[in-house]
């Protein structure tokens, strides 16, 4: 049975939508990848948006939230959900395309907990210096 793990990309400006569009160009459109467009949300409104996704049928087996900046307002907000819903929400900071592609291509192969480890490993492996 297919796992219902969703991922939500949340970042400043157009970053989230552009990342999702770029991942679709490389790996094809994935119905489990979502993004939140930046608006002038208060922290409570942002939380409402994240909660809506968390309680969606799409993420019944878990939700990964990808944000750009550790310590940023999106990270702060997402971390609260991770604290409130341990085992259901995992937050990744340092958004990169490797991270997103890892989710898209490997989400069916692993459990929620295992997938989180695979994604962070792939994301870090994608950062190099030559």
């Amino acid at each position: 049975m297919s796992k219902k793990i969703a991922c939500l990309v949340v970042s400043h400006g157009d970053i989230a939508s552009r990342f999702v569009a770029a991942s679709a160009k490389i790996a094809g459109k994935c119905d489990d990848v979502h993004y939140l467009a930046e608006k002038d949300y208060s922290p409570s409104k942002l939380r409402e948006e994240l909660m809506t996704m968390l309680h969606s049928e799409l993420s019944s087996d878990g939700l990964f939230i990808f944000v750009s900046l550790k310590g940023g307002s999106y990270w702060n907000c997402a971390m609260r959900l991770a604290k409130e819903f341990p085992g259901k929400v995992t937050v990744f900071s340092g958004l990169n395309l490797s991270m997103l592609l890892s989710f898209i291509t490997k989400k069916h192969k692993y459990s929620f907990v295992e997938l989180a480890e695979v994604i962070i490993s792939d994301a870090i492996r994608g950062i190099t210096k030559s």
């Binding site: 208060s42 922290p43 310590g71 307002s73 702060n76």
Partner: protein
Amino acid sequence: MALEVVRIDDRLVHGQVVVGWCPEVQPDRLIICDDLVAGCEWEREIYKEAAMDYSISVCSVSGAAHVIKQYEQEKLFLIVASPVVIVQLIKRGIPITSVVVGGMHYDDGKRKIANFIYVNDADLEAFSFLDGQNVHIEGRDMPGCKPIDIIEQLRIA
């Protein structure tokens, strides 16, 4: 040492504060004054992580005077979520003469007075009180941005 910067931002400590303001202000310590955060261990932990390389203390409104006194030799950057908290602090005797409004975002019942500043009735009342106390109030999300005269904006809105 007096409070170097007092900032109102409903996101409290986040990217603009750590990456934008802290290199400019170079505070010895960030202080979050917020009853909700002060009362919740994991909220405190989240903000301590968010502060990255900067020292940070979290206090309630009632504990603010003690914390500010404790670190009075340091350059302090005080951050609160709302102007209502500033009023509470002033009424408790904490000398605040200048406030930077860095972000009060949209929520139900709020109306816009500037790009990143939305206010409700309680905020209006608080700003009016602060104006009456001759507290300088300016809107500025980043250090290099042109300040917005909040009281003037409230008159126009």
